[in-house]
């Protein structure tokens, strides 16, 4: 595993870019880390400097032989939902399919799907609503060949929501599922 640590660092940096907050486009577009993940032991100067910021990186065993997805495609990790809905919108089906393809090709890789809601309603009921959204994404991944053993569905409910939203544009940002890769 140590042999691939720099490769993993590069992947992890991309994956970390949008852990639970809106992703940072600057990181995603950094040319040194947006290449399709390659099983290479080479260590570039750019990666080295990045890795010093990320001391908690965990090693992920990545088999890239079948990898056809760019890191940029996988960097999109947020699926947004309509009010009171757990239906995956048309515009997010491609995003979910990209992750499904990656996960199906990497059966050792695990993800946690974190459901979220806006702040309206009770904490526990929102926890259940957020869970329903994470299950909706899980079901979509399952259909596309991802094993249950690779997925944990959890919910944060409204606990990470913005407070005192004035309009639906604000609430909308809270109604989402975050796809979080293990070790991120």
């Amino acid at each position: 595993m140590n042999k691939s640590i720099w490769t993993v660092a590069a992947l992890a940096l991309v994956l970390t870019a949008c852990k639970s907050t809106p992703m940072n486009p600057a990181k995603v577009e950094d040319s040194s880390v947006t290449r399709p993940v390659a099983k290479s032991q080479s260590n570039t100067g750019a990666d080295s400097s990045a890795s010093t910021d990320k001391i908690n990186i965990k090693t992920v065993d990545v088999d890239t032989s079948k990898d056809e997805l760019s890191a940029a495609e996988l960097a999109k990790r947020q699926v947004f939902f309509d009010y009171d809905s757990d239906a995956i919108r048309e515009e997010y089906k491609g995003l979910v399919a990209n992750h499904a393809k990656y996960l199906a090709a990497h059966p050792q890789t695990k993800v946690v799907l974190q459901g979220n809601t806006d702040e309206r309603g009770t904490h526990e009921y929102n926890l259940a609503l957020g869970q329903r959204r994470s299950v909706a994404v899980k079901n979509a991944l399952n259909v596309l060949g991802v094993s249950d053993s690779q997925i944990e569905t959890v919910s944060y409910g409204e606990e990470r929501s913005k407070q005192n939203c004035a309009d639906d544009g604000c609430f909308q940002q809270d109604r989402r599922v975050d796809i979080v890769y293990a070790g991120q």
Binding site: R120, H123, E124, L127, G157, N164
Partner: protein, 461 residues
């Protein structure tokens, strides 16, 4: 009764919360009592006696149509505890805040009696007092001996004679116990002043689970975390707290002893673990688990063993609450489309619907006497506290906010505490079951939410 008949009392105590760092599982007094500033430097003993500060601001409005006029006189003092007793103020605030009493102002009176023998009853009948409380505080060794007599002014007889010998740290507790006795003597119902509440504060990105006296004093931190904490639930004996912590990046149910700090993960299964609710005998909890699917209700022993599934649906089933007889679990479910409250045998089986009015009813909680169910109703987009008389089926919407949640009953079943938002900030509020008396408790520093009213506290031995 009309609104115009209601007296309106507004009391506002403002205190500033002291900054103090608290860490995970510390169980320390986080605050200095505001009284210690008003009592003065000469009373070092009583500064220790009251080591907590009111972190909460209390505002009271409304009142019962008929209020019992009562005089609560300052206590005579002897020994080192020679001045500055505020017992009578704490008692007065309790009784006034209940909405059931009118406290007679005695500050302008020339000479107040120190004993029952000195009472000139004609003075007090002239003031229309029905009751008169007086007493004495003595320092006995390291303890305080508090003796109180409560007189029936019309009959000129003693209604109550109470004596408590307690450590100075139980100063406020004794005042609440006395207020409970007075309340019960005059109203015929038990008081709920000597009780505690739990709630969660969010200051910046820091969440703390705190317990405090019902009036917000003596606040202590049970848990402090950078991740959310929700759903505190008192064990029936008041010695443990179940709650949900996200400290491991997912909701996990913990049970923590208040007195030893011992902390145990009771439910940590794949997926979510949330919504703990104690069975009345304290032996087990209802919890909500998901594994890979939707929220379902289970029971689990308080030690984390003997997991049993209670509901089996493809809908959301959550927010369980045991009925006081332990036989049923009431819960929120959207199995019928919109969320409503259902009940099911605690051992499982086929649920039946409880709420029929309104399109959205969640978060059921029983009154300890089993007569009422309180819950949150979404009423045209506004979330409000409702109470349902389980005998008659009558439903009354009690709260006035738009994002009210987490209702729970006082042990005497007269008052409901809930979370509300005022000016964009989370605060706590109470309302009586008849809707007549309201209080608000807010914290200066941050957001306060998820209140849970604890069981009655035993009198000190």
């Amino acid at each position: 009764m009309t609104l115009s008949e209601l007296l309106v009392i507004i009391l506002v105590y403002k205190q500033t919360k002291m900054n103090k760092t608290v860490t995970m599982q510390t169980f320390k007094n986080g605050f200095i009592h505001f009284l210690s500033r008003t009592i003065g430097a000469g009373l070092l003993l009583w500064q220790f006696a009251a080591p907590a500060q009111a972190a909460l601001e209390i505002e009271i409005s409304g009142g019962s149509a008929i209020q019992i006029p009562i005089a609560i006189l300052p206590m005579a003092e002897s020994g080192a505890a020679s001045s500055g007793s505020r017992l009578h103020e704490i008692i007065s605030n309790d009784l006034r805040g209940s909405g059931m009493f009118r406290i007679i102002n005695t500050s302008g009176l020339p000479a107040l009696p120190n004993s029952a023998a000195q009472i000139k009853y004609t003075d007090w009948t002239a003031l229309k007092a029905q009751g008169l409380s007086l007493g004495e505080v003595q320092q006995v060794g390291g303890n305080l001996k508090v003796s109180v007599q409560v007189m029936d002014v019309l009959r000129q007889t003693a209604l109550l004679q109470l004596t408590y010998t307690v450590s100075p740290s139980q100063y406020r507790h004794v005042a609440h116990l006395i207020a409970d006795q007075i309340y019960e003597k005059f109203t015929g119902q038990p008081g709920a002043f000597a009780t505690r509440i739990a709630y969660v504060t969010k200051v910046g990105k820091r969440f703390t689970l705190q317990i405090a006296d019902y009036d917000g004093f003596n606040a202590q931190t049970l848990v402090s975390s950078n991740e959310p904490i929700i759903s505190p639930a008192w064990s029936p004996d008041g010695s443990k707290m179940a709650y949900v912590s996200f400290e491991k990046k997912k909701p996990i149910v913990f049970v923590q002893s208040l007195y030893t700090g011992e902390r145990k993960m009771v439910a940590n299964f794949k997926g979510n673990n949330s919504a703990p609710a104690w069975a009345p005998d304290g032996s087990k909890l209802a919890v909500v688990l998901t594994y890979g699917a939707n929220s379902q209700i289970y029971t689990i022993s308080a030690d984390g063993s003997n997991l049993q599934q209670v509901t089996k649906s493809s809908a959301i089933d959550t927010e369980p609450a045991f009925s006081p007889d332990g036989q049923s679990i009431y819960f929120s479910s959207d199995r019928g489309g919109r969320p409503q409250i259902y009940k099911v045998s605690a051992s499982g089986g086929s649920p039946s619907r409880v709420t029929f009015e309104g399109s959205y009813n969640v978060s059921p909680r029983f009154s300890p006497d089993g007569k009422y169910l309180t819950y949150i109703r979404n009423d045209g987009g506004a979330f409000k506290v409702a109470v349902q008389d389980l005998g008659t089926g009558d439903v009354k919407v009690l709260s006035t906010g738009s994002q009210d949640e987490s209702p729970s009953f006082a042990p005497n079943a007269r008052t409901i505490m809930y979370a509300t938002r005022v000016g964009g900030k989370g605060t706590l509020a109470t309302v009586t079951v008849d809707g007549l008396v309201r209080q608000r408790l807010s914290e200066a520093g941050g957001d306060i939410r998820e209140p849970a009213w604890g069981p009655a506290q035993a009198a000190p031995k």
